[in-house]
């Protein structure tokens, strides 16, 4: 029962936010959608699959750069094409890297994904006539279902049509992830996390299950990255640096690892918290570091866990 209440409450607040909240906070909601979608992918891999990747910011960067390259370099500006391209390019690269990484677990998996992330980061610098090098690439405003909305300003575009587009995209992907997590595949993935050997002997090809989770998480991250790129209007190599991968893991743990609402609550909490902290102290990174340490020790199930406990959920 509590879950449905939580969902209803969230959807309501988000739906009416562009009317109530000042335009600035409305744009923050777009960033929240971008991160939530990306984090749903990461949550599948790390939360449900138990594999901590320190390179997944790479796939968000792939999403952002695909939109940038298609938009600015090839003149294609339909956002549907961008999303499709971002998802397939990211899926393709994940299909290759996944084959290498899925064999490893725990520490080696994290280190390997970090190494691949950094290879991609130096690739973005190196081939600058494609990627624009250190200045990155600009991301023009795409057309939604063929409609360019050029008559309205970018801020109104973001808080208007693009906002609804991102909300619907988020809800669709959220429903899809809710299914995946509850599906036989989701159970097999969780089983592989808890006891890989036993799961293998129950007829589940553990490596292949992890491989599929890796590819699905990369596709989600790319879509999240694409939405962020449109909101920012740019994609730069910093998106793929390893500390960014560390940050998105932090946001997920903040929200609630292995919880369906973890990504969403994490992104919202992070967006508001960062805004507040950045306005009040120049040492906001220290505050985030301390918060991450506290959350890991005190609330391993993150803010969602705290909320559940708050509403008398199981301890």
């Amino acid at each position: 029962m509590k879950n449905i209440l939580l969902i209803g409450l969230f959807v309501a607040t988000v739906l009416c936010s562009p009317f109530v909240v000042s335009p600035y906070y409305a744009t923050l909601v777009i960033t929240m959608f971008g991160y939530s979608i990306a984090l749903m992918g990461l949550n599948l891999l790390f939360g449900y699959g138990g594999l901590l990747s320190l390179g997944h910011a790479m796939f968000m960067a792939i999403g952002a750069y695909t939109v940038g390259v298609l938009g600015s370099k090839m003149g294609i500006n339909s956002f549907e094409v961008h999303l499709l391209a971002a998802a397939s390019v990211s899926g393709l690269i994940a299909a290759v890297l996944g084959a290498l990484c899925a064999r490893y677990t725990t520490i080696y998996f994290s280190m390997l994904t970090l190494a691949f992330g950094m290879i991609f980061h130096s690739f973005l610098f190196k081939f600058y006539n494609l990627t624009g090098g250190e200045t990155g690439i600009s991301v023009a405003r795409p057309s939604l279902f063929g409609h360019a909305f050029s008559e309205i300003s970018k801020t109104r575009f973001l808080t208007g049509p693009f906002y609804w587009y991102s909300l619907v995209l988020f809800l669709v992907l959220f429903a899809l992830m809710a299914l995946i997590v509850k599906s036989p595949f989701g159970q097999a993935l969780r089983a592989a996390r808890d006891n890989p050997q036993k799961t293998e002997f129950l007829g589940v090809p553990v490596l292949r299950v992890r491989y599929v989770a890796f590819v699905v998480s990369a596709v989600y991250c790319a879509i999240g990255g694409a939405i962020l790129a449109v909101s920012i209007g740019a994609a730069d190599p910093e998106l793929a640096f390893w500390t960014q991968s560390g940050n998105i893991v932090f946001i997920l743990v903040l929200g609630g690892l292995g919880q369906l609402f973890g990504p969403l609550v994490g992104s919202a909490t992070f967006a508001l918290l960062q805004d507040f902290l950045m306005a009040n102290t120049q040492y906001w990174r220290f505050a985030f570091g301390a918060l991450l340490a506290i959350i890991i020790v005190v609330a391993p199930r993150g803010v969602v866990g705290l909320l559940a406990r708050g509403f008398g959920g199981r301890r």
Binding site: L28, G136, T155, E238
Partner: protein, 428 residues
Amino acid sequence: MTIAKKIARRDVLKGMGGTIATMAGAVAMPAIAQNAPVKIGILASRAGTAAYIGENGLRAAEWTASRINATGGIGGRKVELVVEEETNARETLERARRLVLQEKVDCIQGVYSTGVSLPMAPTLEDMQALTIFWDGTTQDGVKETMPSPRYVFKSTDNECEAVMASLLVAKHLKGKFKRIAAVSPDYTYGRNVWTAFKALNKKFGIEAEVVAEQWSSFTQLDFTSNVAALKAAKPDLIFCVLGNADLPIFMRAATSAGLTDTARFVLVQAGHQHGQLKKPFTPEGTLLCYNTMYFARPDPSTIQKEFVEYYMDRFKDYPHWECERAYFSMMTYKAGVEKALAAKGGRWPGTDEVASSMEGIEIESFGGPARMRKDHVAEEVFYGGFASHDNSYDVCTLANSYSFEASVLQKPSGADFWKWLETANFPV
């Protein structure tokens, strides 16, 4: 607690209040009362490679604001700074949106890295936010990336330092070198600047063979291998575009290995690290480009003299040229507002009016006369010269400081950089 922080904190609280007001959506913005402060949003980086540069810009902006307020403010209204941090493109754009939509600032000034300024410009233009970038704009390397902006004003062109370096080399070192080498971080600016240097050498009839090219990663901390490879190539002139902590590291390694005895160094971004180029590893005769402010200029303008004394006394450090950019931005805005104010007989001008009155405006900056071109590109005076050790500091200063008007070093608006290099007649 610097002024900025106090200002930032008080504003945030009011900002919070502002949100609630807009949330209620009831209260229309009151007519701008004559005594309400002029709010200027500052975007300055505080961490990573640009932290030192952002810090300098912020200190200069604070000093300029307090100086303006001491002389009656802008059109009688006090100047108030709202400081936000420039980090990466996403976060900085969010901070800029917050300044415009929440804090309702009258003008945004700041930003150093091209990775942040170029993506932000279209959005700021779209939000009709009057913005003056300190740095990192105009061309992305060579091609125009912000054609005919209305509200965004750009800094001087990145390539001016490199063109100045080439002119100084052609003028003073022609015939003294035959084997050139390049050391630069692997990014578009570095590659363009190296190509421009070779092109200008050809233009001035300097025959020089390229013996080595090295493209380092941005955060490289160990240059012993680079120096060893360079020594093997035996260059007699090294064109160095390093600009972060890697520059002093490279110079130290070069001096220890004796490379500085056999080759002359041209430091295109010396201005970035001039406080780090200590005498023991920056030999006399090294070509240093200081960008738009050389703190030890022999006969400085009164304004620069006053600022440098304030800065060195207060922070015990040598001011970076970003201070001049911050001062220039603040004064250009002040001049623009006052010109529009006079034109409207004392009524406060709107953003459009201030923007158009700023086009073509001239002010006296640290480095001398400076102006904002009609196409929103700034023009200031650049300084460079050959290092000398006879001064009372522990860093180098210039034996004789040469200055160049930006108009000489900068391509006219709309021109193609490479064609301009060939056709322009430079004062050599």
